[in-house]
Amino acid sequence: MKLSRFCLLFITAVCLALPASAFAKPVTINWWHAMRSARGEVAAKMIADFNASQSDYKVVGTFKGNYDETMNAGVAAFRAKKQPHILQVFEVGTQTMMLSGAVYPVFELMKDAGIEVDWSRYLQAVLSYYMNADGNLMSMPFNSSTPIMYYNVDMFKKAGIAPLSKTEPVTWDELGEITKKLVDAKIAPAGMVTAWQSWTQIENYSAIHNIAFASKANGYKGLDCKLEINNPTVAKHIERLKSWADDKRFMYGGQKYQGPKSEFIAQNAAIYIDSISGIAKLKKAVKDFKWDAAPLPIEAGTKPQNSIIGGASLWVLNGHTKEEYKGAAAFLKFLSSNQMQEYWHKETGYFPITIDAYEDLKSKGYYTANPLQEVGITQLNRAIPTEISRGLRLGYFVQIRNIINEELEMVWNGKKAPQKALDDAVARSNTQLATFAKTYK
């Protein structure tokens, strides 16, 4: 048909004419993130540094809200075919992103852009959370944290307890004695308080003791996985915490972190388990007592595995041009440079993801001056991650964490026995997992 041919020609002519003007400008790469205020400023500086370091690409960073708002914006944009190049997604969204069919795996991106990456020079415990079952990296870790244990040094001194080692974890039994001493001598109203109970007391506890959180290698190997947290070891741990709650050695401070943190700051609890991001917060807020940090406790007689991370990673989305992907790859490589890693780590406390950056900082004496910052890294690095300590790959993870939180709360309130709560959590979570699997079949 003459008309359609003419239209085709016309459109082609127009299309050819346009990019001619675009060749002179740098290629824009859009990055949507959830880093607000202070962290947002640090990210903005990193973007500015990248843009200043070369003239081919220009990264534009946009703050889209908190983690779920950012993810939603990304999903909606993708459906409207207006997606950014890079999207920051929290760790619980990893499974959804992997199955989305909307992502360009990072290891492929780097290979296709011709950038050589020695993945072995990266902190394996951080990378493994975002690998696929074959060990290839799907998204680039950006802000990763891990939980550690903070304690009130003044209270410990009063009770005659020596400061804890920063590399050798105490055992849970020892912690029980420590908290007993503190509470009995009325030095502390309560012994221990924990933030993010699912992440710290079940997910990390399981990883550190090399116990499976879910079947199929924590979900890495298949969608038809089921939760396994109602195993005897974890059940015993929760029972232990419940018995501690009864004599004030453990105090439940709420599901998130605000409650537990304020209890620690108000000196209502002597020990506080939370992410390494607590370091900066405590530094700002604690004025009237000395505190320090130690690795998470372990069961007596175990050789501990690594702890697992929390935080978010950077995903590259499909639907862009080869030229733009080269820019995205260049930006990700830039972020992995020693200079950027060290800057990010120093300003925010999140881990440097490369071994090179870590060792560089060590040689510069950073950790001698700031021993707190190393506690988390040592805990993360102390063993090579196994199949079940490398992380979790579950669908509807947000809902599952809510379920675990609810069930644990019923244990602390005395409404359910620990084993029953864990059994119920497993049953309810498996329903979620089954629905998720059905959706992606």
Partner: protein
Amino acid sequence: MIKRSFFKSRYLPYLLIFPQILVTLTFFYWPAIQGILQSFMLSDPFGRKSTFVWFYNYIELFTDPLYLKSILITFVFSLATAAVSISLGLFIASMANRALKAKALVRTMLIWPYAVAPAISGIMWLFLLHPSYGVVALAIKKWMGIDWNPVLYGSDAMIMIVMASAWKEVSYNFVFFMAGMQAVPKSLIEAAAIDGAGPLRRFWTITFPLLSPTFFFLTVMNIIYSFFETFGIIHTVTQGGPGGSTNILVYKVYQDGFVGLNLGSSAAQSVVLMSLIIIITVLQFKFVEKKVQYSG
């Protein structure tokens, strides 16, 4: 039916009604149908696949203790809010009704909370009831000896959002009650007074029954308000916590759909909400019809 005189025009009526129909079709009916369809499917958030699963989502909903809890919470929350704001509104209106001189001034001073967004009301009450330094919180802790902490205790959080929601609705109820009271014929009141009935008795035997259509109407409006418009309060103040104790139905639709990215379940919840509201509204119409006929 009353005979109405009509204009004759071929195209004009269609042209006039077109914008309304267009907007309604585009942003009401199409999404409503999509929502119902989506509740029968399992979809991935990126829009790649959808599987038809009949009533799977609905069965999951009604066997999920979290959802049943949310239904309970919503009813408790809306009934508590309605009770507090209606009784307070009625009380103030009856007082204002007696204060003949200051009526306009009183109305000015009581009407502006209507203009305040629920989310802002939430912020103000969050400040008042903050466990660390809120002045009302301190009063509760000191004078009632209760360990007040809405961050930790679900019941405290519930009380906080009830207060924030009810406070706002009081002025809405006040306006209606005032108008209703002024519609009560003075002759009736005077006749009762001549018969020796005191002011309190007059209120309960004459005014209150005549106010019952208003009362009923306000109950329904308040319940609908607390079902939906309080989303802003929950999102700003408690985010459904602690432990899901303030997770009302409309908030759960948002949580599961936009945070949990489970589109099918969220759509099913929307359909359930829709049905609940239709039932309540239909009941209201039927009831009010009856009452209107009775008062003749």
